[in-house]
């Protein structure tokens, strides 16, 4: 019984240690983002990358810019966004959005289409599909 209790305590302590390490990593991540933003005077927009069927969809929350001013560059395995960010209400100096994403799968850059709506940029690309077609019998 005492052995079980000791084992249980060791496991609990280990879980707590892992949890603390994860929290430290999370905090380091926030510090890195904020540090980088302060150093480079730019804003890393909130963004998501997800796969949907044969497409790769990347969205970025970039309020305070104009679609004409968004500089979007794509390669087979990366996406780069730069755009000015204005904040008239707070009267802060103009900032700049900067995002460089390494894509999880290769895409066909010529298929990329993008739109900017309600402060959100959406980029959709066809995934590069390598291989041969197999007939199912």
């Amino acid at each position: 019984m005492a052995y079980r209790r000791t084992l249980w305590k060791i496991m609990l302590d280990e879980f707590k240690r892992i949890e603390q390490e994860l929290r430290n990593l999370e905090e380091e991540f926030y510090m890195r983002i904020k540090g980088l933003e302060a150093m480079r005077g730019c804003i890393t927009p909130l963004h998501n990358v997800y796969e949907s069927g044969d497409e790769l969809i990347i969205t970025a929350d970039m309020p305070g810019t104009d679609k004409e001013e968004i500089d979007l560059t794509v390669g087979e395995d990366y996406l780069k966004i730069e755009a000015p960010c204005r904040s008239p209400a707070r009267k802060i100096r103009e900032g700049k959005y900067m995002l460089h994403v390494r894509l999880p799968v290769e895409i066909e850059p010529e298929t990329v289409r993008a739109r900017y709506k309600d402060g959100v940029l959406e980029v959709i690309a066809k995934k590069k599909i390598r291989g041969i077609k197999i007939k199912v019998e």
Binding site: L46, T59, D61, G64, C85, D118
Partner: protein, 253 residues
């Protein structure tokens, strides 16, 4: 309530809060919809701070605004409404105790109802101009009353995670009136447009006048300002398996 729960979360009233109020909570969640709506309401109804939530589980942080030291989770009071606002996402160990404590406290204050405001994750949000509003009550009467207002739909199937879900469950167990109001929203981008729809609905439900124009006009500014809170809330939403709200319940019965 177990003694340890009593110690874990405490609701402190700095000014007397009268009985029979409606409690509205806007804890950070999907698209920060509840937070945006509740804080806008607090501002527009010129509510003042009447209390705060204290807990050893909260991170050791204070907020300072215009030279005034503030607690992270605060209670604001108006005529017949008390709003609970939080500047941080609720840490996982605090989700259940906080929900239980809020309902326990609401019952002790003979509150009429607790209203939770939140976003409903909608992957196709970018294609939606006017987000739909859904409601779910802790009992049939609350649901039926909430559905009397035009344009709102019943939330019938799905998962509700985090504080909102626990508040609803605790209310059912304690036979207390609770209403969950959800609006289609971006999952992890601040969504003032969605919050505006909730406020439109809330103004009809509570018969209060709320002009949402200023909210929509400052939407972009708000999105920028709430970026850091959204980033941290996204992490907290993972802790409570928020992505489950994109799924349907797996069992037939």
């Amino acid at each position: 309530m177990p003694e340890e729960l009593e110690d874990l979360v405490r609701i402190v009233e700095v000014e007397p809060i009268k009985e029979g109020v409606i409690i509205i909570e806007g804890f950070p969640d999907v698209g920060l919809v509840g937070t945006i709506a509740a804080s806008f309401l607090t501002d527009k109804l010129q509510m003042k701070e009447v209390g705060y939530v204290e807990s050893d589980v909260l991170p050791p942080i204070i907020s300072v605004k215009n030279g005034k030291v503030l607690d992270l989770i605060r209670l604001y009071g108006g005529d017949n409404i008390v709003v609970i606002l939080s500047e941080i996402p609720i840490p996982l160990p605090m989700v259940r105790p906080l929900s239980q404590k809020i309902i326990e406290w609401a019952i002790s204050k003979k509150a009429k109802m607790i209203v939770s405001l939140t976003g409903m994750p909608e992957p196709g949000r970018l294609n939606i101009d006017v987000p739909k509003v859904y409601v779910l009550g802790s009992n049939d009467k609350i649901s039926q009353d909430a559905l009397r207002i035009d344009g709102v739909e019943a939330f019938t199937d799905g998962y509700i995670t985090g504080v909102k879900g626990m508040i609803l469950r605790e209310s059912i167990r304690k036979d207390f009136n609770a209403l969950l109001i959800l609006s289609q929203a971006h999952f992890n981008y601040p969504d003032p447009g969605s919050a505006a729809e909730i406020l439109k609905y809330l103004s009809k439900l509570l018969s209060i006048s709320i002009d949402i124009k200023p909210l929509l006009e400052s939407a972009e500014e708000l999105k920028l300002r709430l970026r850091d809170l959204m980033r941290r809330t996204s992490q907290a939403m993972q802790d409570v398996q928020k992505s489950r709200e994109l799924e349907l319940p797996a069992v037939y019965l």
